[in-house]
């Protein structure tokens, strides 16, 4: 099989923080080094991209020494946690960003869908937008004209085709946008998680379409997702990215196994710190010391079958006096970030003193919600719900994935819209407060 994509030693350095007067000093530094014929001083200092660790340098390798190749007609998956470098890799492959080192060689016309509906203009009609968007994606006028009817047909918005798209529902908007993209016919199609939109039926249609263009028309598809089910169904081969580096590559099935092991390694400790504070917030009065999501056997995992029992094991340290303690755990919608399942328990009403530690085990007996991916949210607070007392961790663990019964098929998989809010019974199995119990292992 001839090659469609070859990536050699690809690396990308990013600068963190703000652009300001200091940036100018660095630019001057770089220029000075260049003039003396030396290596860029900032290329050396890059650190690996571990988000949760405090960095010393402001420069970070978003990608480091990535190597892989994709054959013609292959469906290739890129797997990785948030911030693993997936999107950066896609951006380089789509020529939106440039690499710092290394090179990529491609064979054939490339079309990338990092987003559906790029360049849609709200004031223009659906018809005009088909032409505009098609042109942005690299189609010529005559190509679009030829495929126009088929695009409208695929999108299913024929009735509104001469209405400005600002009057469209978000669903119609996405349908129309994907319909244009689906008719691109490039030799290499690069797709980011565009499937996270639209309803289940439409998602199925999209996945089906991607499968078809590869199977029937022999096109190469590069697909990025942390939606494991979709990767399993679509891709033959895959690579895993972790902290900007290659973790594994091989058949999609093997990679998914490796990835599950990798994901299980997530450890949350008192020191878990995130630079931008989006993943851990709080004043530090109380801090979660460890966090585990386990099945009945005590094994840490994030994939569950519908109706299975799930356990959350949390331990914490107290650093300032707290008026009691409450715990909130939520399963969020991956798209809207609303709580789908919210469980809340008062752990103790007693005053907690600095130096106290504790642990709890919370159980959801039957997790009866729609199959899908649910990011997790954990919060500790005092029983008066004071803002200052909280410790929040979200998005730091992988999302919980719920599978539908026995059939792990595309039909049952819907990361898009787990609708509604569910009252699901939960209980505290076990809770213990150890006064002055730092360092003592609880539970």
């Amino acid at each position: 099989m001839s090659k469609a994509i070859q990536v050699d030693d690809l690396s990308k350095l990013y600068r963190l923080g703000l652009v300001g007067t200091r940036t100018i000093a660095e630019d001057v530094n770089k220029l000075w080094a260049k003039m003396r014929g030396k290596e860029d001083p900032y290329l050396k200092v890059g650190e690996s991209n571990v988000r949760s660790a405090k960095g010393i340098s402001e420069y970070v390798w978003a990608l480091k020494d990535i190597n892989f190749e994709v054959g013609h007609g292959e469906r290739f998956g890129i797997i990785g946690k948030n911030g693993a470098g997936k999107s950066t890799l896609l951006k380089i492959l789509s020529r939106v960003a440039s690499p710092t080192k290394g090179r990529v060689r491609l064979n054939g016309r490339v079309a990338s869908l990092l987003e559906v509906g790029t360049g849609f203009h709200a004031e223009l009609t659906g018809r005009d937008n088909i032409f505009l968007n098609g042109a942005i994606l690299g189609m010529t006028q005559s190509e679009i004209k030829k495929k126009f009817d088929s695009i409208v047909d695929f999108s299913g918005v024929e009735r509104y085709i001469d209405t400005p798209v600002k009057r469209y529902s978000s669903g119609m908007y996405v349908r129309l946008a994907f319909a244009v993209a689906a008719h691109l016919e490039p030799e290499i199609l690069i797709v980011d998680e565009v499937l996270a939109v639209g309803d289940a039926e439409f998602q199925k249609k999209c996945l089906g379409k991607m499968h078809d263009v590869s199977e029937k028309e022999g096109r190469t598809v590069l697909f990025v997702s942390h939606n494991l089910q979709a990767i399993r169904n679509l891709c033959q081969k895959a690579i895993i990215l972790n902290n900007g580096e290659m973790y594994d590559s091989g058949s999609a099935e093997e990679c998914l196994k490796t990835y599950n092991d990798l994901v299980r390694e997530v450890k949350i400790t008192v020191d878990t710190e995130v630079k931008d504070f989006t993943h851990r917030r709080g004043k530090g009065n109380v801090r979660m010391a460890s966090l585990e999501v386990t099945g009945t056997e005590g094994e840490q995992r994030f994939v569950y079958k519908k109706g299975e029992k799930i356990l959350f094991r949390i331990s914490y340290n107290v650093y300032k006096e707290m008026a009691g303690l409450t715990c909130t755990i939520a399963l969020l919608s991956g798209i809207s970030r609303e709580a789908i399942v919210l469980i809340h328990h008062v752990i103790t009403e007693d005053i907690l003193m600095p130096g106290d530690t504790g642990g709890m085990l919370v159980e959801i007996e039957e997790l009866n919600i729609k199959a899908g991916e649910y990011p997790l949210y954990f919060e500790l607070r005092d029983s008066k719900y004071n803002e200052y007392s909280k410790d929040v961790i979200d998005d730091l663990t992988p999302p919980v994935v719920i599978l539908d019964g026995d059939e792990e098929s595309l039909e049952s998989y819907n990361p898009g819209k787990p609708a509604g809010y569910f009252q699901i019974p939960s209980r505290i199995v076990n809770s213990e407060v150890v006064p002055g119990g730092y360092l003592k292992k609880v539970l």
Partner: protein
Amino acid sequence: MGKDPIESEWTLEIKPVSGWLNFPIKDVWRYRDLLMMFVRRDFVSVYKQTILGPFWFFLQPILTTITFTIVFGNIAKIPTDGVPPLLFYMSGIVSWGYFSDCLTRTSHTFITNANIFGKVYFPRLVSPLSNVISLLMKFGIQMLLFICFLVYYKVNGTPVYPNIYILLTPVLIILMAALGLGFGIIISSLTTKYRDLTFLVGFGVQLLMYATPVIYPLSAIPEKYRWVVLANPMTGIIDTFRYAFLGAGSFNAGNLIYTTVFAVAILSVGMLIFNRVEKTFMDTV
């Protein structure tokens, strides 16, 4: 591409940014349909949901002309080379307007399009080019207005003398577009990382107008300082424009040649910088 025969199998190679001399002319040509779509988008969307629509194009030069006539003509009493002040100012405003629109619009290219540029590749030059083309519509409408006034005055026997140099108008338009585009893309490239220049553009353009014979004729400038105004590449354009349509002032081929050389130079420099920046700007914008 490479010396290695195997290399040539690949249709596209993505490498770190290096070198300055790789104009994407071929690429821009391949994306000409996109260029036309952008122009069309601007046409269709610009006056959506306004009642007067394109009539706003008339209002701006008329009001400015009236203001200038009152302030500079009647109060400051700046001479107008014997031409009715209204025609004199309007000719200056209409042509200067096109240049300044081109400049301001293209100088925001990277910032206004950051969203699209971050998601899909196409030669970035398509964006500023489409601006320059779609601004022609506004210019055309305002020219029409100017010609109406001109005809009205001529019929009433005012001494204005449109002449054969009117045939130079397309050249003048191209020169204005080239200057506006050149300056614009330089500014837009320089502002991706440091936004400081954006503050300058707005009033900078306005100040530059006073260094151009828009509100005064070249002849009103003392000989001693005339070189300052002549160094401004827009001077040749405005002057020729006025001479062609009104017969006022003089035609100086030297000035126009200077402008042409200047425009070609600034456009080349602009393309070089722009072309370099388009590859790295996503990291800095």
